[in-house]
């Protein structure tokens, strides 16, 4: 019996050993054979020395979430060898460094072992000690390629893609891969059941991209011209990608002038301050950060809300509280971001789940931010931001920017009067002018202190309350403008609500629930404030499971607080929060258990 195109390969290595390139080449080569892949890098907060794991999930269905089951282990980290081997499922494969002793937990009789003298092979073929570790990693790619059936042509193409700017590296690395293949062919007797076979129709027109690159492209195409940031994992690569794209596509070849100002700020307070200074002056601006940075931005977020300043803030979430696990993923900033700052503050929060959404909803975030003259928070996470995902090519934008209600000099000349915070249309959204507008009425004073509709300082109780009410009205207006939920409703009794990367576990989880005899409907929230569809969905279902990656069930809490009180009893919370991306089992097991104990 053979298992075709349905397995998870785990490479357990030491951080800083250069295994990332090998893992990416392996992923890419399998993808080039038309087989759906879902790589997950589970890495430490460390540059060199701590253990790191890279899982490549291969599934005919194209599931993109993490798999709990490890089929094939490449064990190249003596420190974790004793924990890694027991994680392999029965019938699985362990490819390991020959010199490791097999005893205790590492000696099993339900897995296939392939011992490979990686260190010896590398030593024999590479004189340079520094290069040797890289070479070792490519050897395991070769061993795997032989055992599983990865095509040489696909590997070469993947190497060329990986080392675009270093053609020499392609040959060196291919030599290492061949060495692994040849060693395996001559020395290993294949007794396991796993194979990879080229297929068609599964990955046509798809490509591999990470969410941070996609969001950066959303910034480019969304017209962002000012970015300020402070380095923090896992958001750094978002701004670094934006820099790379602006260098490449926004720079005048002759003059060297670049149509973007991107500043590495001294901290996140300064970063968000620069964003608001820039948007106040009329540019589109963004900052990207993660939890600790978001905490520092709280005061300015309130200014942005109350003084009504656009600005896009990316929070690529990692595991908090505090420093937490900087290189692990959670969705635990939702409630904090939604109400970031003191006082009655409510923000627009965008919740992308896919690479395509990281791009498209970023462009939309800039439009919403200008339209509503308010900070918009894009909550991605480490899993979406830093891992590679299969996606269709990102679509070229067909719509122009929506810059919202901005009065220029001509509009001011035509107007009899205007007030910066006056609600003219009843939607709560006032008009603004930009510095530099050449009209005597254009200027006004932006302040975080109490102000009337003409932006004058005011401590009047009615004026203060009316302004807060208008801001609430504006937030309500946003409900029909924000990205609406994606709903799959076939009239079943049980519903699921999720958001962000939890989506991918829900997709697989619903298939498994169906196999177990439970049909479900599904609503995926893509933004806060909540939209009318959410209320209707909960109303239509007997029970609704709210699934998310945080301890406290933060979306569950928001739904209970904001939906009509009589619906609260229908909501049940399912949570996953150990820092590794949620898998389908974390959806299915608690859900079935609740169904069995509570409702049957």
């Amino acid at each position: 019996m053979s298992t075709v195109n349905d397995l998870t390969i785990r490479a357990a290595t030491v951080n800083g050993s250069g295994s990332q390139s090998a893992n990416l080449v392996l992923t890419n080569a399998i993808f080039r054979m038309g087989i759906p892949v879902a790589p997950k890098n589970v890495f430490p907060s460390n540059i060199e020395g701590l253990p790191t794991w890279f899982d490549v999930r291969v599934s005919p269905q194209g599931y993109q979430c993490r798999s709990r089951e490890i089929d094939v282990l490449i064990a190249l980290n003596p420190m974790t060898w004793h924990d890694d081997v027991p994680a392999v499922k029965t019938g699985g494969v362990v490819i390991y460094e020959e010199s490791y002793a097999r005893n205790g937990s590492t000696q099993r009789d339900d897995v296939t072992y392939y011992a490979v003298p990686f260190a010896k092979l590398a030593k024999e073929h590479v004189a340079d000690g520094a290069l040797r570790k890289y070479f070792t990693n490519m050897i395991y790619v070769g061993v795997l390629a032989h055992l599983l059936g990865v095509e040489s042509a696909a590997l070469e193409a993947a190497l060329r893609a990986q080392f675009k700017r270093k053609p020499k590296a392609v040959d060196t690395n291919m030599d290492a891969i061949r060495l692994g293949m040849e060693y395996a062919a001559s020395n290993l007797q294949k007794t396991d059941s796993y194979t990879l076979e080229r297929i068609s129709g599964k990955t046509d027109d798809l490509l591999l991209m990470d969410g941070n690159s996609a969001a950066a492209l959303g910034c480019v195409m969304g017209g962002c011209t000012v970015a300020a940031w402070y380095p923090i994992t896992p958001s750094s690569s978002l701004c670094e990608s934006f820099i790379a794209y602006c260098d490449r596509f926004r720079t005048d070849a002759e003059t060297g002038e670049r149509k973007a100002a991107i500043l590495q700020a001294e901290d996140e307070l300064a970063a968000i301050g620069m964003v608001f200074g820039a948007t106040w002056a009329g540019a589109r601006a963004m900052t990207s950060t993660s939890g600790p940075g978001l905490s520092l931005m709280a005061e300015f977020a309130g200014l942005g809300y109350y003084a009504e300043l656009p600005g896009v803030i990316f929070d690529v979430q990692r595991a908090g509280p505090s420093t937490g696990l900087p290189t692990r993923t959670l969705q635990a900033d939702l409630a904090f971001a939604y109400a970031l700052s003191h006082g009655d503050t409510k923000h627009i929060v965008i919740l992308p789940a896919t690479v395509a959404e990281a791009y498209e909803l970023t462009m939309q975030a800039f439009d919403l931010s200008d339209r509503f003259q308010t900070p918009v928070f894009v909550l991605s996470d480490l899993d979406l931001g830093m891992n590679l995902w299969m996606t269709h090519p990102l679509a070229y934008p067909e719509k122009p920017f929506d810059r919202g209600k901005v009065l220029d000099a001509a509009a001011l000349a035509a107007a009899e009067s205007w007030g910066r915070y006056r609600d003219v249309e009843g939607d709560g959204i006032p008009y603004r002018t930009l510095p530099g507008t050449e009209h005597p009425l254009a200027g006004y004073f932006t302040r975080g202190s109490g102000h009337d509709e003409n932006a004058k300082y005011s401590e009047n109780p009615d004026v203060f309350r009316d302004n807060l009410d208008r801001l609430a009205r504006k937030h309500d207006t946003a409900r029909t403008f924000v990205p609406q939920p994606v709903v799959e409703d076939a009239g079943h009794r049980v519903g699921i609500i999720a958001y962000g990367t939890t989506h991918h576990a829900v997709v697989e989880g619903r298939d498994r629930l169906r196999d177990a005899g439970l049909e479900t409907d599904y609503l995926r929230i893509r933004a806060l404030p909540l939209t009318a569809d959410v209320t209707a969905f909960v109303e239509r279902h007997e029970r609704v499971y709210v699934i998310e990656q945080n301890r406290d069930g933060q979306l569950h809490g928001i739904l209970r607080a904001e939906l009509p009180a009589e619906l609260a009893g229908k909501l049940h919370s399912i949570r996953h929060y150990n820092g590794v991306p949620i898998d389908a089992g974390a959806v299915v097991e608690p859900l079935l258990s609740a169904e069995e104990t509570l409702f049957v």
């Binding site: 011209t225 001294e266 300064a270 200074g277 530099g436």
Partner: protein, 340 residues
């Protein structure tokens, strides 16, 4: 030329703002009046002026001049980041930041330092009274060691010299003046407007309510007795003729990028404001003597400002549209192919 308008045809009234809500006799009001005169005489375009501030008594003052300009009263100690963002977005704006000693040297010290080293093209006025006015008179970080509060507390901590710090951190125009000395302050302000880069003016400005008593080193009386003027300053707009008389060899002329000049006439000692080491020495020695040394302490007219260092186009970023900013369809297709 009409005697009642300035070079760009605007009357003095245009440069006024709302009535002050600060205490009668506050040094900040004198600064505002001097600023109005400086802006009017200079012929600053109100539509291009961006008035930025943080929080505190000082930071209220942008409401008191040039009503028709856009103003931004941000959060405490964070004016530098707002000003930096505004300048990056629209480099045509003349950014004028007004801060206080608490706003700059206590809560805002980090942003202040980084603004100095970035050389943001911005005039940065510190209305410096050594105390917190709005919260009723606590010490700020510019209070001199040994200075006494109204209720008798003595400041045991070393003062932060915002000018010394600015020079140390690469600021390219650093001056100190006194709110009551319009004759010196106005030409220094106009020189600051002319400077392309960060121009810091630390203006000692007594707090009449909380820090104008015996024992305070920021009181009117103390300043009167300890004011040491480095040089007199005269500002000359563009190619205007020099009308002031001076003896040859007594005058240093600084010419700015835009052709405007400031003439510094030496008083008791020679002083070279382009010498960073001398600037630092002068400030340290004055502090040791308990003196308030005023004048243009340091200037470097050759350094590139932030917008130039960032290679920004002359067209303000805020004015760029879809066609300027998006990739073409062809570029986009080939970029997408590169991911496959």
């Amino acid at each position: 030329m009409n005697a009642n308008v300035n070079a760009i045809g605007l009357s003095r009234d245009v440069y006024k703002g709302a009535a002050t809500t600060l205490c009668a006799g506050c040094g900040h009001n004198s600064i505002t009046n001097n600023l109005i005169k400086a802006l009017y005489d200079y012929g600053v375009d109100p539509y291009k002026l961006a008035k930025m501030s943080g929080i505190g008594c000082s930071s209220k003052t942008p409401a008191y001049f040039v009503d028709r300009a856009h103003g931004f009263n941000g959060v405490h100690g964070r004016m530098p980041s707002l000003a930096t963002g505004a300048k990056l977005a629209n480099r045509e704006l003349m950014v004028l930041g007004i801060s206080g000693d608490g706003d700059t040297a206590s809560i805002g010290l980090g942003q202040y330092c980084h603004m100095m080293r970035r050389n943001v093209d911005c005039t940065y006025i510190i209305e410096d009274n050594g105390c917190y006015g709005l919260t009723k008179g606590q010490f700020s970080a510019t209070a001199d060691r040994g200075s006494v509060l109204k209720k008798g507390q003595v400041n045991e901590f070393e003062t932060i010299d915002v000018c010394g710090l600015a020079v140390e951190l690469g600021a390219t125009f650093v001056a100190r003046s006194f709110s009551g000395d319009g004759k010196q302050l106005i030409p220094l302000l106009q020189a600051a407007f002319s400077h392309k880069g960060i121009a810091v003016l630390d203006v000692i400005s007594p707090c009449v309510t909380f820090n104008d008593h015996e024992g305070s080193t920021k009181s009117y009386n103390y300043i009167k007795e300890h004011h040491a003027v480095l040089h007199t300053a005269d500002f000359i707009m563009g190619s205007a003729e020099i009308t002031v008389d001076y003896e040859p060899g007594t005058c240093t002329e600084i010419e700015f990028d835009n052709g405007n000049r400031v003439l510094l006439r030496k008083l008791e000692h020679e002083y070279d404001p382009t010498n960073r080491i001398e600037a630092l020495r002068t400030m340290h020695e004055a502090r040791d003597r308990g003196e308030l040394v005023t004048g243009l302490l340091y200037v470097d007219t050759h350094a590139r400002d932030l917008c130039d260092r960032e290679r920004l186009p002359q067209t303000p970023l805020a004015h760029l549209r879809e066609d300027d900013l998006r990739l073409s369809r062809e570029q986009w297709s080939s970029l997408m192919e590169s991911f496959a």
